[in-house]
Symmetry: C2
Subunit: 334 residues, 2 copies
DNA sequence: CTGAAAGCGCTTACAG
DNA sequence: CTGAAAGCGCTTACAG
């Protein structure tokens, strides 16, 4: 009379002839397991195509094996790339990411309850968001490990790119050319979803120009929506002000691409008459010859996820900020 | 010597003087609980601010109390509103939604593993996506309840709007005006993330025009990116072809708004010289006087979530398709 | 309608 | 380095 295995992990234990305690240790990469034992267990796991019951693991261990990622939205290439970096890093720890796009101000109240599912995970990653600003009325328990990406705060580990420096580098380079100067900005989300990213790039740009004694008039600062068409429309507006020579800091590659399309359509010659600089160095920027500020977007996500995982694993060190320096990549457009 | 409660639910049981079995029944809205008992228990729950341990519930019940929502991206108003409808409905069942934006073709492989976290939930909702197309190489187990929204398939319950009819209604109405006809389309995602939504609207539009003996030339079919700027740029292109009278079907309100901005900028008079029709009837369409096809976006999400929850609760009925009829809302722009 | 008890499938001190 | 056993906090037949 053979005993019936009660759980899947017992099947593995039986087949491998190893206790389920040790099978569990193998599953969790526990260091104190003999190499040969590990091999035997892994073989049985493969043979049975065993996957541990996620809910049982979470319950028994007290870990969710997942982090919560808060972001304004998902749909732009930026957040897709941040997410890619985050997922790459989490894969190393066999952790999952649960996505919580805020989307709108009114939807924020879904996150004001500290018992919300979003707060049941082992750590929180805020992208382009300030948790303190979000919860200034209704502070939620940030007692769990928390890291910011594409944002800055004194209280938490942060990973971001120096946007002001990026704007400065763009301004420094563009100001070596003759002609009029323009900057195209993206309209920000409303508080509290706003970030200062584009404002920072503007500040750096203005600083660099000012150092050369150049003032940029208000009408040369153009705001559009974040889209190809936005860039195109901005370019048409620019061309109504001056024909050439022109120097345009588009503050992101998507706008720069829209600008370039219009410039070409208008028959102006790039570099000679018009200079355009983007920001991001998206994978396709090279194909279009866009001069731009490179920022390591996946790396931001990856680094933030890494810091967060270290916190989850128990790192109690002082708060840390990682700032990446953008790099000017000179190509055809300037 | 009082016994120490081992779990939070036991605190509630003790305080209310009711067994934890019954406390659990109250928590799960079990019908067979005396009204007074329920009241007593709820009072104790409130007093202790008790929230059940989610992981324990999932483990013990075998339910995750969550559904997985697959969509191309999140960031456009459309998906935000679908999600809103889904969340509203799920709140009724105390269910959560886990978001899985596919984002890119290469990212699809994250979802090819049937053990992926996305498939651990109680049901699947696909928005603007065809699960069979997604998994034609690597079919994943759709043995759990599955519903489609903004899409159609023979195999699953579906909820969608009749886009072809919408296009037809736009064409029927616009064709009563004199002048030239234009249609502005949104460029689709690449396979397998593509949907036929805008293609359907085009088909309906062409059918209506054809019935009046009108053929729409190829150059009057303009594709742009989904953005305000896209609409503006399309309008400028239209104005280079003909000045007036013009009839433009913009296929969504965002494009229509961009078109209107350009039309006004060009000094043309709406209705007399130019007619513009959008699609969606977004909340702000009224403010801008956009004539449009109304579609109940939240309702699509809500209905899809409802069908899914009924399936999860055990409904084994035949597959069902719910199709909403778009409605022409006449306002200032046409 | 309610309670005592078993059980969900893992993890983890504890002892060896 | 490994195993036997207790335990994680709920749900749910089962009996009444």
């Amino acid at each position: 009379m053979k005993t019936v295995p009660k759980s899947a992990i017992e099947d593995v234990a039986r087949l491998s002839g190893i206790s389920k305690s040790t099978v569990s240790r193998v599953l969790n990469n526990h260091p104190n397991v003999k190499e040969e034992t590990r091999r035997i267990v892994l073989k049985a796991i493969r043979k049975l195509n065993y996957k541990p019951n996620l809910h049982a693991r979470r319950f028994a261990s007290g870990y969710s094996y997942a982090i919560s990622l808060f972001l304004p939205e998902i749909g732009t290439q930026f957040y897709g790339r941040v997410l890619k970096g985050v997922e790459e890093e989490l894969d190393e720890y066999s952790y999952d990411v649960a996505l919580f796009p805020l989307l709108s101000q009114e939807r924020l109240k879904r996150f004001s309850n500290p018992h919300a599912a979003a707060y049941q995970n082992d750590g929180f990653l805020f992208v382009s968001l300030d948790p303190e600003k979000l919860h200034h009325l209704n502070p939620f328990p940030l007692s769990k490990p928390t890291v910011l990406a594409d944002g800055y705060s004194e209280k938490f580990d942060c990973v971001y790119v120096d946007n002001r420096l990026g704007g400065y580098l763009a301004g420094q380079y563009l100001s070596s050319f003759p002609g009029e100067f323009f900057i195209i900005l993206v309209e920000e989300f409303e508080f509290p979803l706003s970030t200062r990213v584009f404002g920072e790039r503007l500040l750096g740009f203005e600083t660099a120009l000012k150092e050369k004694g150049i003032d940029i008039p208000q009408r040369n600062i153009i705001s559009v929506d974040f889209s190809l068409g936005g860039g195109q429309i901005a370019a048409r507006d620019v061309l109504q002000i001056t024909k050439s020579p022109l120097n345009i800091f588009a503050t992101c590659d998507l706008l720069a691409l829209g600008v370039l399309e219009e410039i070409r359509g208008a028959g102006l010659s790039l570099k000679d008459e018009v200079r355009v600089i983007g920001f991001d160095d998206q994978p396709w920027a090279k194909d279009y010859g866009i001069t731009t500020l490179h920022q390591p977007i996946e790396e931001i996500g990856k680094t933030a996820a890494h810091l967060l995982m270290e916190r989850i694993k128990g790192n109690k060190g002082v708060t840390k900020a990682v700032s990446f320096k953008p790099k000017l990549i000179k190509r055809n457009s300037a």
